[in-house]
């Protein structure tokens, strides 16, 4: 939401409150104003009716005052006395009444004439009516007529001709006799020819006895004049006056026939009678006109006159009467509109005042955010925004300063770095050169090494392949020669035999050579397979010594075996035999006739130490290690004197190493040599290719049993453990055991079926 909207909303809410309060205030003030306007009209009405009342009261007082005069008149006294003396008063009165009524309206009977012309009548006419005076003063007579009756209701004196002689049957007469005086409502006096008001006063003699009634007829015009005067005095043409009697009949009205009609129909009368004075608005019966504002006041009387229930009504066009209210309302609306305008303008002005610096500040902030610290602060007022701007400026200045510092620092640092970099670059270049050289060297080296490796591989592969290939043709050759020598194809001469023996010897030699090459290549490439099984080292040595004894004896060399009790252990029987044979063979080769060769097996606790000692030519100390390297013979001339591939000891070393053993030579030139090697008992200590008992013993046994059962044998009860202890070896998860079934049968481990041949029942 924009600041302007917020501002406008705030002001709008405030304005709404003000407007609400204003409306309430206006309503209340309108009511008050209306009240006061109404009250003003009421006052006017009351003033008018009071004037009328006062006027009537004055006329009553006049009439009363005159009535006292009339009461003391001798004619009245004489009449009362005369009537009192009469036997039949009512009869006389009736007789005179009949005569009175019989006369025409414009006709005066002598009796009438006598009455009109009697001194009292004259007096009334001259003194009371004072026609000339009133005519002169008002332009019309105030009292239209006046007359007096005696105590019996008969007319005694009269100013004008009356319609009746007998008056005691009239209401005013009775009421005046009883109450002392009576004022009638307005009526049309036929005899007077005007709208009029009767005023009747009781007359008494000096003793206070009822003497008769004086009656004066008041001309209503005076009252009409009063109302008109009031009306004219107000100069208010929108206003109409109306005087109503207690029945709602219009006595006089300045105007407006229709409203009169409404009054006449009594539509408004109940509202007028509600209180002694008041005001209200009423719908005009004429639809073309607006509402009427009506105020009224009841007659309150004056002095002794108690009033006669008349009501003075002021009719006023509502619009005109309530003009001040409308004016007030108009003013208020104008003020409200102007306030709204002012508020909006103030809002816009405030928004401009507040938002412009904020906008500028924001722009400046954006600039600073972008990194432009030299931005100008445009806000310079002394309010909070100005302070904020000033603070911001300070901050920016501080920031600028610190950045400059930082820049300077950076520059310094950069310079240093550049210097350093230059130096470093030099050094780096040198280093790069050196590195490149080294890398080249290393590349060369790597290349060379890879080449070497490749060559090695090629060599190994070549050796392995070619030796196979070479050996293959040897097989039929040696067999055929053997068959020839075995005289399969007929008798041979000694020469032929010698020749074939030479061929055979060389074939064997060639085979050994190839075999050695094959072995060394396998050992070097790690492809040599070993057939590990548990057995007696001593037995193997015995075999070797046994077979080699023949050769030793041929050369008159003694060969003896000295063996400790060596525990059975795991080893490749053929390969260990090969090692032993090789060592013994070498000993024989390098020992002169009559020499001694001793083969020893010594139990060293954890391992067996085998020694082959001779009394031969011996080996130089510096050669004692060399001889275990492939294709090395101490003296190259040796190979001719002592036939051999030069690989034998290297192969021995490989084999022993694969048993985790050690092989070495100790020698003294001329005294003889001692070749020794060790075989550890615990094969679990062996590293490399061969691992034993990857399976648990139980598992290995189970596999063994299964395998035997497959072959149709049955395990003899209770022999499993023994069998396992003696013969089952597991290598790399593969079961290896190398006992013939015949052996097993003989030892009582299994009972067989029909197969009694020596049989290998399995091998990894």
């Amino acid at each position: 939401m924009k600041y302007l909207h917020k501002l406008l909303m705030g002001f709008s809410i405030a304005f709404l409150f003000v407007a609400l309060t204003g409306t309430v205030a206006m309503y209340l003030s309108q009511q008050a104003l209306k009240e006061s306007i109404g009250n003003g009209f009421i006052e006017l009405a009351e003033e008018a009716i009071d004037k009328i009342d006062r006027s009537i009261s004055k006329r009553i007082e006049q009439a009363e005052a005159y009535a006292i005069n009339v009461a003391g008149d001798p004619d009245l006294r004489e009449s009362n006395t005369r009537f009192a003396a009469m036997d039949d008063v009512q009869g006389y009165i009736d007789e005179q009444e009949r005569e009175w009524r019989a006369a025409k309206s414009d006709e005066l009977t002598p009796f009438m004439q006598a009455l009109i012309l009697n001194p009292l009548s004259r007096e009334i006419r001259d003194e009371f009516l004072l026609e000339a005076f009133y005519r002169e003063k008002y332009g019309y007579p105030v009292f239209a007529e006046a007359f007096a009756t005696n105590a019996y209701g008969a007319v005694v004196a009269l100013s004008n001709r009356t319609s009746d002689y007998r008056q005691d049957d009239e209401e005013w007469w009775q009421k005046a006799k009883e109450a002392g005086k009576y004022v009638s409502d307005f009526n049309y006096d036929e005899s007077a020819g005007v709208y009029s008001l009767d005023i009747a006063v009781r007359m008494e003699d000096t003793e206070g006895n009822f003497a008769g009634v004086f009656k004066a007829v008041l001309n209503i015009r005076e009252i009409v004049d009063i109302a008109t005067v009031v009306h004219l005095a107000e100069h208010n043409e929108e206003m109409d006056f109306r005087l109503l009697d207690r029945e709602g009949r219009t006595i006089t009205a300045t105007d407006d026939y229709e409203v009169m009609e409404a009054f006449a129909s009594g539509r408004l009368l109940p509202r007028l009678s509600a209180a002694t004075a008041g005001f209200f608005t009423a719908k005009s019966s004429d639809e073309r006109e607006g509402d009427e504002f009506i105020s009224y006041a009841h007659s309150r009387g004056s002095g002794e006159y108690a009033g006669n229930g008349w009501i003075l009504v002021i009719e006023h066009e509502k619009e005109h009467a309530l003009q001040p209210i409308y004016r007030l309302r108009a003013i208020l609306v104008i003020i409200a509109g102007m306030s709204v305008l002012v508020v909006v303008v103030i809002c816009l002005y405030l928004y401009a005042i507040v938002s412009t610096p904020i906008r500028r500040l924001r722009k400046a902030t954006e600039q600073v955010a972008k990194g432009n610290l030299s931005v100008k602060m445009p806000v310079e007022s002394h309010d909070e925004l100005g302070l904020l701007a000033a603070d911001f400026k300070k901050m920016v200045v501080a920031l600028d300063a610190s950045r400059k510092e930082l820049d300077a620092l950076n520059k310094g640092l950069q310079n240093k770095i550049e210097e350093g970099t230059k130096e470093a670059r030099k050094t780096a270049e040198e280093a790069e050169k050196a590195k490149r050289a080294t890398l080249n060297m290393m590349d060369d080296l790597t290349e060379a090494m890879e080449k070497q490796k490749r060559l090695e591989k090629i060599k190994t592969e070549f050796l392995s392949v070619t030796s196979h290939e070479l050996r293959t043709p040897i097989t039929p050759m040696s067999s055929e020669v053997e068959m020839l020598l075995g005289e399969f194809f007929g008798k041979l001469t000694d020469e032929q035999k010698k020749s074939l023996e030479l061929v055979q010897r060389n074939i064997t030699h060639l085979d050994h050579l190839i075999s050695d090459i094959l072995d060394i290549s396998k050992l070097e490439s790690g492809n040599m397979k070993f057939l590990m099984k548990k057995g007696s080292l001593v037995a193997v040595l015995q075999d070797v010594v046994e077979t080699m004894k023949i050769k030793a004896n041929e050369r008159n060399i003694s060969l003896t075996l000295k063996a400790d009790a060596i525990p059975e252990c795991v080893f490749d029987h053929d390969r260990i035999a090969q090692v032993a044979r090789n060592l013994v063979n070498n000993a024989i080769k390098f020992t002169d006739s009559g020499g001694e060769i001793t083969v020893e097996a010594i139990n060293q606790g954890d391992y067996a130490l085998m020694k082959v000692s001779d009394t031969g030519i011996g080996i130089l100390k510096e050669d004692q290690e060399k001889i275990f390297r492939p294709f090395v013979q101490v003296d190259s001339s040796m190979s001719r004197n002592y036939e051999g591939s030069g690989l034998g000891l290297a192969i021995c070393k490989g084999i022993i190493a694969n048993h985790n053993g050690r092989i070495w030579a100790e020698s003294e030139i001329g005294k003889g040599s001692v070749f020794q090697f060790t075989i550890p008992y615990k094969l679990s200590a062996m590293k490399g290719e061969v691992e034993l008992f990857n399976y648990s013993e139980e598992e290995a046994l189970n596999r063994f049993m299964e395998d035997i059962k497959k072959k149709g044998y049955r395990i003899v009860q209770g022999k499993e453990k023994e069998l396992l202890g003696g013969n089952v070896i597991d290598t790399k998860g593969k079961l290896r055991y190398d006992l013939s079934l015949k052996d097993l049968e003989e030892k009582g481990y299994i009972t067989g079926e029909d197969n009694h041949q020596q049989e290998h029942i399995g091998s990894g």
């Binding site: 293959t472 043709p473 040897i474 039929p476 040696s478 068959m483 399995g762 091998s763």
Partner: protein, 109 residues
């Protein structure tokens, strides 16, 4: 059975001299075919052969004839490198004539 005719011939000669009825074969299919048509008790079997290897031939023979026909491997491979599960005997090349004769005597008792 040997792909090298000379070897097969030598073994054949040796055995014939000792009074055995001998037939030679030079590949796996020929071997299986001959076994099917004849009544053989012992087969000297080379392992490294072109096509079907000696192991595979042995497996096939075992499947069909179980242990009625004995099998002896005659190979250049050292014993440690050979799986002899399906064989009854093993002779390392180059062999001695007496090894052939002994195996024959043992297998055909």
């Amino acid at each position: 059975m040997d792909d090298q005719r000379d070897v097969a011939g030598t073994i054949s000669t040796v055995l014939k001299k000792h009074g055995y009825d001998v037939e030679t074969a030079y590949d796996g299919n020929e071997c299986l075919q001959k076994v099917e048509n004849g009544r053989f008790r012992l087969i000297f079997l080379d392992i490294m052969l072109p096509g079907m290897s000696g192991d595979a031939i042995a497996k096939e023979l075992r499947k069909t004839y179980d242990s009625k026909i004995k099998i002896v491997y005659v190979t250049i491979k050292p014993k440690a490198e050979v799986d002899i599960t399906d064989a009854d005997g093993f002779i390392q090349k180059p062999f001695k004539i007496r090894e052939i004769i002994r195996e024959a005597e043992v297998m055909i008792a």
